[in-house]
Symmetry: C2
Subunit: 329 residues, 2 copies
C-alpha cells in the first residue's frame, strides 16, 4: 500500500485537485471551474469540499501524507497570509492557510503556484535528473520558481522566485508591480497580445490587424504564434522580443546562480519554436556558460556540467504534481 | 590554544596573507606587491613562500585548520582550474589549485575573490547577524558573491555570483564578457571614469574636464566623487547612474531571491552618499519588498524580515577574512 498526497492547483479559471502517490503516479484528478467571481469564501468552500470528498474516497487505500495547495499569489510562508494576488481579487492580506486548515481540521501547505510548478517539473518533468533548476511559467503573467538542491527556495519571507518581475528594459513598459520593463511585459500571453496591438497601431502589421478583427475577443498569443508559423514578419518579431526578454533574464540567472537547468513552461511556451532561437542567441552572447543544450532529446545524455535550457514537460499538470509533492518533501 | 586558518587575497596589485583564529581575530597580516608582470610562476612562488613562512612562524601556537586563497577569476571548483582571469594575464585554464598544493604539500581551498569577500562580510562584517546575503564588490570591475545559509553558493560549476555581468541596459555599453550593458559597465571604478570622459566629450562637464586635465593619469572615480560632493552636477549624474544600475540589479536579486541583505563593498562604495539615494529609489519603485533599511546604525535592530541594503564594513579585509574562513566552514 502506497502513501499518497493531495495536490491542489487554484488558478484564475480552474480549480484542480489530485491525489498522487509517492512515486508520482496520478491516482485521481478532478477539475472544477473556479468561479472566482463568487468570491473568496465560495472558492475556499468548493476547494475544501472537494478535498474532503477525495480524502474520503481514498480512505483505506494508503497513508495520506498531507495536502499541498498552489495558489496564484505571493504568500508569507510564516503566517500563510496571501500578500498579493492579482488574479484573485479580494484575497490579498487574507489568512488563506489558516482558513483552509480551520475548515479541513488538518494542516495544509500553501505555496505559490509557479513555485509548485517548478517543484513538479523537478520531481517528474524536465528536471527529474537535476538537483536544482529555475522555471519560468509564461501565462497571463510570468511566474517563476527556483528549486535549489531539491527544495523550493523561498527567501526571507517566501517572496523569492518572482522572476517575472526582474527587469529587462529599465525604461520599458510599465508593469502592474509598480516597476517598468519587467520580463512579464515582454514574455507573457498578455504581453504578446499587447505587442501585437502595438504592431497593428504602427500600421505595419496587416496580417495581425486582419487576425485581430477576425478573432475579436479571441485574439490571443496562440493566434499570433500561428501567424508567426505562417511566416508573418511582424508576428515573428513579437516572438523574437519574447525570446530576447527571456534570454536576458536567463542570462542574469545563469551569471548569478549558475544553475544546471532553466525550464520554460506555461501556455506561451508552446510557441517555443518562435522564440527559442533568439533566446539562445542572447544567452550565448551574454552569459558565462560554455555550452547550452536544448533537449528533451538530450535530457538524460547531456554532459554533467552542461547548462540546459528546455521546455517544461508536464504542461498544466506541473503545478498539480508539485503541490502534491509539497507534503512529501 | 585556538585553532586558526591562513587566508590569502591575491589581487591585481597586492598579495596579502593573514592568519585568523576561529573567533575572527587577526593574528598576522602580511602585504606583498604582487608583481603580476613577473608572471604566474613567480607570483605563485611568492605566495607559497609567504604561506610557508607564516605557517612556520605560528607552528605550536594552535591547530592550523587549513589554507584558503581568494583569486580574481572564475574557478572551476571541481578541478581547481582558473577559467577566466581578466586581471591576471596568463592564468586562464591553468591548474592553479593543483600547482599551489604541489608546492605546499597540503590541500588548499581556492575561491573567487568576490565570493571570499561576501563570506568575510557574512562572518565578521555587515552580515554577521544574517544567514544569507548578496554582496557586490565595486572595484576595477564589479564582483559578486552569494552566501546562502552561511555558505557560498557556487552553482553548477563554481561560476555563480558573477553579478557584475547581469544586465541593466540590454543595448548598453559593450562589456569585456562579450555581452552589453552589464552592471560592471555602470558601477565599477572603470565605468565611473569612462562615464566622466563621456560627459567631458559632450562638452557639458567643464569641472570634470579641468579635473581630468589636472589629475591626468590619476583621474579616477575618487576624483569624480569629490566633484560630486562639491555639487558638480555632471559628477553627481554619474553617481546617479551608478545608483540606478545597482538599484536595478538589486531589484532583480530581491525579486528572484528575496535575501535579507544586500551588501556593497569595494573602492567605489566609499562614494555611497553619492549613489545610494538613487539606488534606494529604484529598489523602492521596482521591487516587491515592503521596507528597506540602510544601516550600519540599525544593523542589529532591524525587524527580522526587513530587507537591508548596506555598505560593507570590513573594507579591503573582507576577502582576506573570507579566505581564512573557507577552511573553517
Amino acid at each position: 500500500m502506497h502513501s499518497y498526497a493531495i495536490g491542489v492547483d487554484l488558478g484564475g479559471t480552474n480549480l484542480r485537485i489530485s491525489a498522487v502517490d509517492e512515486n508520482g503516479t496520478l491516482l485521481e484528478k478532478t477539475t472544477l471551474g473556479t468561479e472566482v467571481s463568487k468570491g473568496r469564501d465560495f472558492v475556499i468552500g468548493e476547494m475544501t469540499d472537494a478535498i474532503r470528498t477525495l480524502r474520503d474516497k481514498l480512505r483505506g487505500t494508503g497513508e495520506l501524507r498531507g495536502i499541498g495547495i498552489g495558489v496564484p499569489g505571493i504568500i508569507d510562508m510564516d503566517t500563510g497570509l496571501m500578500r498579493e494576488s492579482p488574479n484573485l481579487p479580494g484575497w490579498s492580506e487574507y489568512p488563506v492557510r489558516a482558513e483552509i486548515e480551520k475548515r479541513l481540521g488538518t494542516p495544509v501547505i500553501l505555496e505559490n503556484d509557479a513555485n509548485a510548478a517548478a517543484l513538479g517539473e523537478k520531481w517528474l518533468g524536465a528536471g527529474r535528473d537535476q538537483d536544482s533548476l529555475c522555471m519560468f511559467t509564461l501565462g497571463t503573467g510570468v511566474g517563476g520558481g527556483l528549486v535549489f538542491n531539491g527544495k523550493i527556495w523561498h527567501g526571507n519571507n517566501g517572496m523569492a522566485g518572482e522572476l517575472g518581475h526582474t527587469v529587462v528594459e529599465p525604461e520599458g513598459h510599465p508593469c502592474g508591480c509598480g516597476g517598468r520593463g519587467c520580463v512579464e511585459q515582454y514574455a507573457s500571453a498578455t504581453a504578446v497580445v499587447r505587442m501585437a496591438h502595438e504592431a497593428i497601431a504602427s500600421g505595419a502589421a496587416p496580417e495581425l490587424k486582419r487576425a485581430a478583427e477576425t478573432h475579436a475577443s479571441e485574439f490571443n498569443s496562440r493566434v499570433v504564434y500561428q501567424l508567426a508559423l505562417q511566416g508573418d514578419k511582424p508576428a515573428q518579431d513579437i516572438y523574437r522580443r519574447v525570446g530576447r526578454a527571456l534570454g536576458i533574464v536567463i542570462t542574469n540567472m545563469i551569471n548569478a546562480l549558475n544553475l544546471p537547468m532553466y525550464v520554460i513552461g506555461g501556455g506561451v511556451s508552446s510557441a517555443w519554436d518562435a522564440f527559442a532561437p533568439t533566446l539562445l542567441e542572447e544567452v550565448q552572447a551574454r552569459s558565462f556558460i560554455y555550452s547550452v543544450t536544448t533537449p528533451p532529446a538530450t535530457l538524460r545524455t547531456a554532459p554533467r556540467k552542461t547548462t540546459v535550457i528546455t521546455r517544461a514537460l508536464l504542461g498544466s499538470d506541473a503545478g498539480l504534481f508539485g503541490a502534491a509533492k509539497l507534503p512529501m518533501l
